[in-house]
């Protein structure tokens, strides 16, 4: 999921600073091979840390990610939280996982199946072992596999010992025991001390993949600075794990994953929700406007509220409203006041907002609605991912109610898409829906940090001239109506949800006017379409099969397409950021391919739209499991279609 040119381009974002793949040098220390060990090269490694939710697996995963990024690898991550806040320790429901794909090549996804599984207890093993690659490495904490935990996970015997695991390299390590031993003299309670065991696991893995642990040590110092005994404890355990790897005879091989070819720049890891928050903030700042977020907490959108609430010194107002309706209404009220109003939620909350979004369509004020989709319908699978709110976004309001719909493709693309959403909202005076999802929201990847000065301009014109002012006198090009800040003398006017008379904005029940205004609202979308950059195609511009995607499936599709292209197949990919309106050149592109495949984590929503728009007999590949596509699932389907 690195920030390479092809992907940025494929998303049609030429406005963002150009990045170029070039020679690279990562500022990091090289780690010498451990004495007496073989060192092998690997292109890519997929590792999954799994344990009880109390075991700190998310933290372990994140730190290993940072180490890998600093080692110059391209990376992609996938956290997997349990649905319960604190499910009983040791149960299947309480298992928490974090998967990382780190590579010397370009990374598109967190990887289909792990090469390495770290399992801190039997439940973690049971939930995850099925995914481990044949011949993969299993690193288990022996102490976690006690009778109680085995029973909670529903194991009759101990799978680490009874040979039931099959084709897997099993490394059983006394992680808890060694952790406790290392900390013996610190007089920590047993509970506190054994909580450090995740750092032992991290230490072992860091050694195994030749990662430097200095940054983690620094991070420990920072993170626990208020409790120095924990700094000491965690640091000791981390080093102990590392040295265990180095000295034990268990491991004969140490692996190395060389740095990837990554465009020069300054990087950091961001999750989709952080990137989205930054995109909104940057756009508001570029436009010179305060930002107002009216929101109500909901998984997996809440983190945007948490993030933006920290930006107060940037002129960001966050309002945790009493419900989703108040969230969007307050944002619209702020927009009326000349502020950029934003509201965030997930599917069920967006459903509640639709009546007010429709008001925004009618009063033609800028407003950005972010839908961080999750598994549905109804409460559904709140902590799982899905991309099934496209219908709701495009069609989900009463009457003909057109508005632009954009979707982000990767965690970092959330930045770009949020920025673009704000730009369109302001330029065209319209609400804009931005679709992200749980996978992007929580997934992280390296972000090539842009310079604020180089971001595209977002001009804002607040009308102040009373002469010739009419609330619905439109800009001839964008069809935007004027934006006026209350407080501007002489421009007092009234807006509302009843049909407006063209130009004057007065209430009008005239049949002809209603038709005119309905067309005007539709025409505004046509104007937005003119603003969409040419669709970029990964692969040839014509061929046997075109894969059309949107949203978080980007990585899996790109990797699958590369894979089948490597086998000489005439397959290309386009990935849509603009879902409403669709890019004007899309119909032409579709016709240049014999078969069009639309993989979606839903029952075929983009598929419906493409078929209706272009009468193209596209076929769907649909996965509704609350989980992203595996590369192999898409590649397999492509190959079967090419054969069939």
């Amino acid at each position: 999921m690195g920030g390479g040119v092809p992907r940025e381009k494929s998303l049609g974002q030429p406005r963002m600073e150009e990045e170029r793949k070039g020679a690279m040098r990562v500022e990091t220390q090289a780690v010498a091979a451990a004495p007496g060990k073989r060192r092998e090269q690997r292109d890519s490694v997929v590792i999954r840390f799994a344990g009880d939710s109390g075991d700190g697996m998310q933290l372990t995963g994140m730190q290993f990610t940072t180490e890998s990024a600093l080692a110059g690898n391209d990376i992609g991550t996938l956290p997997d939280f349990p649905a319960e806040i604190r499910a009983p320790a040791g149960t299947l429901a309480g298992v928490s996982g974090f998967q990382l794909n780190f590579s010397s090549l370009e990374v598109y996804t967190p990887g289909d199946s792990p090469d390495v599984l770290v399992a801190m207890n039997p439940a973690a093993l049971k939930v995850n072992i099925g995914d481990l690659k044949p011949g993969g490495i299993l690193l288990a904490d022996r102490d976690g596999f006690d009778a109680g935990n085995l029973k909670k996970a529903g194991y009759a015997g101990n799978p680490l010992e009874d040979g039931s695991l099959g084709q897997v390299q099993v490394f059983v390590v006394d992680m808890t025991g060694m952790t406790l031993k290392v900390l013996e003299d610190l007089k920590l309670s047993n509970k506190v001390a054994s909580r450090c065991k995740n750092f032992f696991a991290l230490g072992v893995c860091s050694w195994l993949y030749s990662r430097p642990i200095e940054t983690t040590l620094k991070w420990i110092q920072d993170k626990f600075k208020k409790t120095p005994e924990l700094v000491e404890a965690n640091a000791r355990v981390l080093k102990a794990g590392y040295h265990f790897g180095e000295t034990t005879e268990m491991f004969a091989v140490q692996y190395e994953v060389k740095p990837a070819r990554i465009s020069p720049g300054t990087y950091r890891n961001v999750t989709g929700n952080t990137a989205l928050s930054l995109g909104l903030l940057a756009a508001a700042n570029k436009a010179g406007l305060p930002l107002f977020l009216g929101s109500y907490p909901i998984t997996p959108a809440s983190d945007i509220l948490h993030e933006l609430a920290q930006y107060k010194n940037f002129g960001v107002y966050t309002f945790q409203a009493e419900d989703e309706i108040a969230g969007v209404c307050s944002a619209l009220g702020a927009s009326f006041g000349g502020v950029i109003g934003v509201t965030t939620s997930s599917g069920p909350g967006i459903a509640l907002k639709q009546e007010a979004i429709n008001l925004a369509v009618m009063v033609e004020l800028p407003l950005v609605i972010c839908n961080i989709q999750r598994g549905g319908p109804s409460t559904g699978l709140p902590t799982k991912t899905e991309q099934a709110d496209l219908y709701q976004a495009v069609f989900g309001r009463n009457s003909d109610s057109p508005l632009p719909v954009l979707a982000a493709a990767t965690p970092t693309d959330c930045f770009t898409t949020a920025y673009e959403a704000v730009r369109i909202a302001i330029k065209y005076m319209t609400p804009v829906i931005l679709l992200s999802d749980g996978y992007l929201a929580n997934g992280a990847e390296p972000w090539s940090i842009p310079r604020f000065e180089e971001l595209p301009a977002i001009p804002v014109h607040f009308r102040t001239e009373a002469e010739g002012f009419f609330p619905y006198l439109r800009d001839p090009e964008t069809l935007a109506r004027p934006w006026v800040k209350p407080g501007t003398p002489g421009l007092e006017h009234r807006i509302g949800g009843i049909e407006k008379e063209d130009v004057t904005g007065n209430i009008s029940y005239s049949p002809a006017n209603h038709e005119l205004m309905t067309h005007a609202r539709a025409q505004k979308l046509a104007a937005v379409a003119q603003d969409i950059p040419p669709t970029s195609i990964r692969g040839d511009h014509a061929g046997d099969l075109l894969v059309v995607g949107w949203g978080s499936t980007y990585g899996s599709i790109a990797a699958a397409v590369d894979e089948v292209r490597a086998r000489g197949k005439r397959v290309s990919q386009i990935h849509l950021r603009y879902l409403n309106p669709l890019p004007p050149d899309l119909g032409g592109i579709l016709r240049r391919f014999k078969t069009v495949l639309v993989p979606e984590m839903n029952m075929g929503q983009l598929l419906t739209i493409l078929r209706a728009m272009y009468l193209v007999d596209a076929v769907g590949l649909n996965k509704i499991q609350g989980q992203p596509f595996k590369i192999s699932e898409i590649a397999g389907r492509i190959l079967r279609l090419l054969e069939g």
Binding site: V26, R268, E322, S330, A334, P486, P489
Partner: protein, 339 residues
């Protein structure tokens, strides 16, 4: 900070400055006309220039109000005026934001936004026109309609025990709670002025006659012949006395309940309770008084407003962290350089 304090020096305005060019579309005889007239009369006297006023409403006859005010206005959707207005007021505390709503708009579908706005003390000036009926949808009962009321949707009489809007506001700790009457022009003007000056959110229930679907619902309170005996005017610091001969009053019983007493026969003016706007329990008790029906200011107290506290947080953050450097924010956390 009172909204009055943000007043800018403005040229002297008149009532006509606040009359918009739209035809007023209420039924002839509707109580809304009088309310509109009082608002248009008071606004120019407040010393704030016209463009600083915003009227926000939901849907209902009453919610047509903004169209008739030559100020900024937003006729939103049913029940959501307080939410829309909250967003505006929080991000634009310099504006004087008025909310016009009805007993259906504000207490039925919009009840939640109303009570949350009041508890937060967002500085909205809320006018709730209570005609105890749904006017615009042609006469269904509302959450303030009497038990047993026969309407289109309750042909056998309503079985819904009604809200007492003043008690609701007191239950959510609103900082300014008052009741006016459409035809009591002077009182209404006073209340509007008081609301404007109150540094925070205000709630005024205005008893309003819908002469089409609920004619005469407040008649005993507005009929010249009866009103002296049915209405109790609340005045801070003055004893709660009423009656044609001002010979009746309100006493606090030892059981902490209010009693209506007649002066004379051993009861003196000194026994009569003196109205105290700052006394929350008293306001709650008065809210439940039906005969006489109190009008005027039940309760007024001062508490920081939401928008003030929020603005202070933004200011404090700016003081502490500087005005916000986007490039620095981008680089927060662990970064690395690829050359």
């Amino acid at each position: 900070m009172s909204d009055a304090a943000v007043a800018t020096a403005a040229p002297k305005l008149t009532r006509k400055d606040f009359v918009s060019d739209q035809d007023v579309r209420w039924c002839p005889g509707c109580g809304d006309y009088s309310i509109l007239a009082q608002v248009q009369k008071v606004m120019p006297e407040l010393g704030l220039s016209r463009e600083k006023f915003v009227f926000i409403s939901g849907i209902g006859c009453s919610s047509r109000f903004p169209y008739y005010m030559n100020t900024y206005g937003f006729h939103s959707i049913h029940g959501r005026a307080a939410a829309v207005a909250s967003g505006l007021k929080i991000s634009r505390p310099d504006l004087s934001v008025w909310v016009v709503t009805g007993d259906g708009d504000g207490l039925s579908i919009g009840g939640n936004h109303l009570i949350h706005a009041l508890r937060r003390n967002v500085g909205l000036k809320i006018l709730l026109f209570n005609n105890r009926i749904y006017g615009l949808t042609k006469g269904q009962y509302s959450p303030t309609s009497e038990l047993g009321k026969v309407t289109k949707s309750t042909p056998a009489g309503s079985v819904d025990y009604p809200f007492n809007p003043i008690a609701v506001a007191m239950g959510v700790d609103a900082t300014f709670v008052a009741r006016g009457v459409d035809v009591e022009a002077k009182l209404l003007q006073d209340l509007l002025r008081r609301a404007y000056e109150h540094p925070g959110g205000t709630f005024i229930e205005i008893l309003q006659n819908c002469n089409i679907f609920n004619d005469g619902v407040w008649e005993t309170l507005t009929d010249k012949a009866t009103k002296a005996d049915t209405v109790l005017l609340l005045e801070h610091g003055k004893p709660l006395i009423f009656g044609k001969n001002r010979d009746k009053g309100i006493k606090l019983g030892s059981d902490s309940r209010l009693q209506v007493v007649t002066l004379g026969n051993g009861t003196q003016e000194g026994d009569i309770l003196v109205h105290d706007e700052t006394n929350r329990p008293l306001a709650y008790m008065l809210a439940h008084l039906e005969t006489p029906t109190p009008i005027g200011v039940f309760h007024a107290t001062i508490r920081p407003t939401y928008e003030e506290a929020m603005s202070k947080q933004l200011e404090a953050a700016r003081q502490k962290l500087g005005p916000g450097d986007v490039n620095a924010l981008f680089k927060r956390g662990e970064t690395w350089v690829v050359r």
